[in-house]
Symmetry: none
Subunit: 198 residues, 4 copies
């Protein structure tokens, strides 16, 4: 019973979060109603509240889910055998953004933008966002340090500042894809290569 039940429990939570994400993608965190989520999930109100004790908890789960996709970039950067240049690290991240935005279940980057807004008034989400983004940025800092060791980047610069810029290029990529719509990995990379030191 324990293992099956635990799996069952997690499956149900995932089912609810998926349904809720669908609603949130249409209507945003606040306009999406529990009635919508309940209908979309195919469960009853009581069942949903058996897995999450409030709408806020579901919102937090969706936000965490979306923000956690950066963990995968993090892993990819760590997993690479040969040392990454800043440009390569960034391209890895951009590729990941595109990939997760096309996964079935809805464009996670849209959820992430909502999570940014929500973080400004929801300390739990702020804390998640802050933690995840700091963690990823720290990997860019490693990359910057490596580049300094190589001599590709001036050794006098604080690698954290370099990381701020590398990491800082990602939200602009996400946002332009969603709001202007004409940005792709290829165009952004071309721009990067034109501006960055070789």
């Amino acid at each position: 019973m324990p293992k099956v039940t635990e799996e069952h429990r997690l499956a149900r939570r995932a089912q609810i979060v998926a349904a809720a994400r669908t609603c949130v993608l249409q209507d945003g965190f606040h306009k999406a109603t529990m009635a919508d989520v309940i209908r979309e999930s195919g469960l009853s109100a009581g069942a949903v509240y058996g897995y999450f004790k409030s709408k806020e908890e579901i919102v937090a789960a969706i936000a965490e889910d979306a923000l956690s996709t950066v963990d995968e970039v993090f892993q990819k950067i760590l997993a690479t055998e040969q040392p990454l240049t800043p440009l390569m690290a960034l391209e890895t991240a951009l590729a990941h953004v595109v990939e997760v935005s096309e996964r079935p279940g809805g464009d996670v980057t849209r959820v992430a933008v909502q999570a940014w807004a929500e973080a400004l008034r929801n300390p739990a989400i702020m804390s998640t966002a802050s933690g995840k983004y700091t963690q990823l940025r720290d990997r860019f800092e490693d990359v910057a340090r490596r580049a300094q060791a190589d001599g590709t980047i001036d050794a006098d610069v604080d690698p954290r500042h370099v990381a701020q810029v590398l990491f800082g290029l990602i939200p602009g990529f996400v946002l332009q894809r969603l709001i202007i719509g004409d940005v792709t990995r290829a165009t952004y990379s071309a721009g990067l290569r034109a501006l960055f030191r070789p």
Copy 2:
């Protein structure tokens, strides 16, 4: 009478938008209630509805207000007599971000982040955001073209792609200031100078 009345009307609208922005900065677009806005504005419900026909219209006004701060960057870039390098244009923009975030009346960059999220489900705000951001990015495109003319940037690259990157650095600056909190003009500039071609 028409002129006085028209001025009066605009003043009232500004008063209401200012009150609403205060509420929205605390609670977000959706958790801020009309009752909050009405109380904060010092007017009556009827009066507020005399100037805006719905909450949505107030939200749109706040969002447009916040998104319109980019017009000022736009103007600054245009107004500069000597041609701007990409780095200089960007530093102008970053300086502007910092300046508007510290204006009395509340940090406009926070409203902008909310507007990004709202744009994803509100076509009017999406349209405003898209228009304003395209306009600003077009200025960065001018800057890129100039740099290509100078030979600072490879002439073979599409200047729009360069502009995507230049513009794309701004949301990441805004977001890191709000969510991580350790980014300043100076640190970001240092990172930029380390990465960009001289």
Copy 3:
């Protein structure tokens, strides 16, 4: 505006409390729903919540209302010119119980019984009940003291203990009227006269 509005406000509150009392008399404090109260009051949900911020507040108002009928007994006992004997004081109280139970708007003694039960889990109502009942019992204590001065009651006894018994006869009168139903002022008085010292 102020005076009219204040009267209006009190009238509305009274209207809501009256409607709520009707519902509570049928269904009890907890089975009476806000929807019932709203329907009965003829107002809208929003209007009701403009006068009371929660159901609990309405319940407290009804309970306080019912418990406050003892203030009138209190006044009657004080107002009597000639000194009251314990028996006379008690008969005044019993007459009052009968009178308030027959007032239009519903039998207040039924509400009082509900208030007793509610007091056991609601500190606000407990506090009201405790205060009102202590106040009334204190009047019986005055009566007892007077009787001791007259020599009708043994001077050695604590007048508070006498008051406990005099006051204590009232709940039994109320309860038997409601639960057994065969008790009247006349029958209870006859019993009292048979048992009490002349």
Copy 4:
């Protein structure tokens, strides 16, 4: 098997009623939830519903349980060999009230007060209360008749009216103990002796 099963059944019912009483003492009949009762009983929802077909049935069982404590007073009055005076009968009853209020499992007098309120809207409980209280009052009527035979009480008075008063003193004792809190057997008896004919 039938006997064991029947015992088992009664034991389970008692276990559930005990758990429910604990909940009801904290929260009242209506605020106590079945989930509370189920948790407190240590059984499953299905099990509880195997022994009682509804919450109402559990409520009725608790109320009956509490109201049935008067049967014991009844028995004590009957069991006394020498004839009881009204005062003695009453003191027996008061002693019993105190005793049952201190039994482990929770103060039954609190449940009784709740049962009074519930009786007003629940015919089954009204019927139980009415029956039990009439039965006990009938014993006081016997006592009154005896006192009339003795000449202690005027023979012209209807003994039922005397019983109304004797019985009527008990709710006031219970209520003052719970709501004002300064009444004891000793103080109430002192008051009674001061007021009653010797």
